[in-house]
């Protein structure tokens, strides 16, 4: 900014408002419970990492963390893999009912997940998928596949058809063209899509907790259980909350350039 302090002040105020809840969470996670209950403190006076060590040394928490990461990654891979050919078809071909089908896919995003919790529970119980990472990974496809199709379709629309045709003229088989020529062109879109699938699957709780019991208990479920058992352990919950944000932060760090380009190019 070349002149004026106002823009700077506004920016700092805006960032402060964004960062405040995150800061407060970190603040809480570093203070002992008695301290949290007795007074308000802007920063931890006697910081302690005790609860972080507790979580990282407790097999239940660690296992739950692994479970969450596993189904999120499985879901992301499935969503992107399934959505790529679908998005290509929606963009490049016209067939009877294509627009309706595309809209119908999007309507899956509009229904609350709670609607599907019961049928999924019953179905997965019947086929033996209940309480596995696959149960959650597949259930999350319900909203992540349409989302992925929708985002990818926008990116694919940005690639001129002439490139497809040129490859056909050059003699490329479709699969070779798709992998060697086409995928690199929409790499940003795939990055953005994977990011959104990851995030939506990571933050979704209702299906994740309904469709699991003990073996595949996700991180969030362990969080909710921990305060119902032993009263309110503020520090523990705050520490768990901070740990929950870490994978998302790492993913954002890796795809930040793709996302910046993706926001400029496509349908995000």
């Amino acid at each position: 900014m070349r002149r004026g302090v106002m823009p700077r002040v506004m920016l700092i105020a805006y960032l402060a408002m964004l960062m405040l809840p995150i800061y407060w969470l970190i603040n809480l996670s570093l203070r002992p419970n008695e301290d949290i209950m007795s007074r308000m403190a802007l920063w931890p006076h006697h910081p302690t990492l005790e609860k972080y060590f507790f979580i990282l040394n407790d097999p239940t928490w660690v296992h739950a963390f692994g479970v969450s990461l596993t189904y999120v990654l499985i879901n992301t891979v499935i969503s992107v893999t399934v959505a790529l050919p679908a998005a290509y078809a929606f963009n490049r071909f016209s067939f009877i009912g294509d627009k309706h089908l595309f809209f119908w896919l999007l309507t899956n995003l509009m229904a609350p997940a709670a609607v599907y919790a019961m049928p999924f529970f019953n179905l997965y119980y019947a086929v033996g998928l209940f309480d596995t990472v696959w149960a959650v990974a597949l259930a999350h496809c319900l909203f992540n596949v349409p989302l992925a199709v929708w985002i990818l379709e926008g990116f694919i629309g940005g690639v001129p058809r002439e490139i497809d045709e040129s490859a056909a003229i050059d003699g490329y088989s479709f699969s070779r063209f798709f992998i060697r020529i086409f995928l690199p062109l929409i790499a940003n879109g795939i990055g953005v899509t994977a990011f959104f699938c990851f995030m939506f699957s990571w933050v979704e709780q209702l299906l994740a907790t309904t469709l699991t019991a003990t073996n595949a208990l996700p991180f969030a479920a362990v969080m909710t259980r921990s305060y119902s058992v032993s009263g309110m352990d503020w520090t523990l919950l705050a520490a768990a909350g901070v740990l929950t944000m870490i994978p998302g932060a790492i993913v954002i760090w890796f795809v930040r350039n793709h996302i910046a380009k993706g926001f400029a190019l496509g349908r995000v």
Partner: protein, 359 residues
């Protein structure tokens, strides 16, 4: 190879994009498709490439019906108006791509890529990505890719249209030489009559999805069989005047008469359209047989080393070409001299009656 479009039509949504075109291209020849935008040039090329299927009619290659054969199975190369390269591959890999698909390997691949690169002056750029090239270089890359494939049929769809003026002039001079070395059957679409003349070979004039005329470029230029063909093959636009001839006199639309001289002397009495290109309209000297009209200058535009002067008269607007930069001012009254020996005469249906001196 020879390719024969046999009475093909393409309809999209009830609209005829290509209307009963019958066109036979011989092996190893240069063929120019000349027509305005939307005349059907690109549609015809897509049919020849196998990217689209005709609604009716057949496509024969060396006598064999290939109408339903997909593009991957044909020996075709195509250069688009937009510069189409594979953005994720280097220039070298772009040029090599059809060879890699055809499983050409090692020295042979390298030699052919470098040969194409040398012909198109891309040697110093082989390691770059297409996005790091100028428009002209990108289009050269696309042309190199088309050449290196050594396809039997090479289609070029207005390859120079999106280049800036200077590059266009440069490539336009180089292209005929480069293309003639390939030995392929060439099809080149353009909107510019000058390109058709420079490229030589045969020219097909197209208008509204129909093939108007097909023949050696010079013949089509000098003897348009239909007024539409003359219109397509004329830049600046063709001058057209309706006339009626009786005995030794022609009467123009404004009621004025001129003696029937030059081409006009040879035609029978009746109603016609007399048409002429800007190059036989002069503001300076009278021709040996001149039809003279007076008017007022409306616009003088400079085009390279020439000026196009638009003169408004009661009969309509004439366009003429003047050498150098015109110093004429709008509003100035001038006489326009048309070389009566070289005008075309078409009948009321548009068919050629007399092509003037050229015939």
């Amino acid at each position: 190879m020879s390719i024969h479009l046999q009475n093909v039509s393409v309809e999209i949504g009830g609209e005829k994009i290509i209307d009963h075109v019958d066109l036979a291209l011989e092996r190893g020849t240069m063929n120019v498709l000349l027509g305005a935008t939307l005349a059907g040039k690109t549609s015809l090329m897509r049919l020849m490439a196998g990217l689209d299927k005709p609604t009716s009619g057949k496509i024969l290659v060396d006598g064999a019906d290939v109408t339903g054969v997909p593009v991957r199975k044909r020996s075709v190369a195509m250069v688009y108006q937009q510069f189409v390269n594979y953005p994720s591959l280097s220039v070298y890999e772009n040029i090599a791509s059809p060879l890699r698909v055809a499983k050409v390997k090692g020295d042979e691949l390298d030699r052919r890529v470098r040969e194409a690169a040398r012909i198109l002056g891309l040697e110093p750029l082989l390691k770059r990505q297409p996005s790091q090239l100028s428009g002209g270089q990108q289009q050269r890359t696309a042309i190199a890719r088309a050449l290196t494939k050594r396809a039997d049929l090479v289609l070029l769809d207005e390859p120079l249209a999106n280049l800036d003026y200077k590059l266009r002039e440069e490539l336009r001079e180089e292209l005929p030489r480069i293309l003639s070395q390939t030995g392929a059957t060439l099809v080149y679409a353009t909107t510019e009559p000058l390109e058709a003349l420079q490229l030589g070979g045969k020219t097909a004039t197209l208008s509204q999805g129909r093939l108007v005329q097909f023949g050696p470029a010079g013949d089509v230029y000098h003897r348009p069989n239909h007024i539409e063909s003359a219109r397509v093959f004329s830049d600046p636009p063709l001058n057209e005047l309706p006339i009626s001839k009786t005995a030794a006199e022609v009467r123009f639309a404004d009621g004025s008469t001129r003696p029937a001289i030059g081409t006009l002397a040879r035609i029978a009495d009746g109603n016609y359209t007399v048409a002429f290109r800007a190059d036989i309209v002069s503001l300076r000297a009278a021709w040996p047989q001149s039809l003279t009209f007076s008017g007022e200058i409306s616009v003088a535009e400079i085009s390279g080393s020439e000026s196009f002067v638009h003169v408004t008269s009661p009969l309509g607007t004439f366009v003429c070409v003047e050498p150098g930069v015109s110093t004429l001012q709008p509003g100035q009254r001038v006489d326009v001299h048309v070389d009566a020996a070289r005008v075309f005469v078409f009948d009321s249906a548009g068919a050629l009656v007399d092509a003037g001196k050229a015939s």
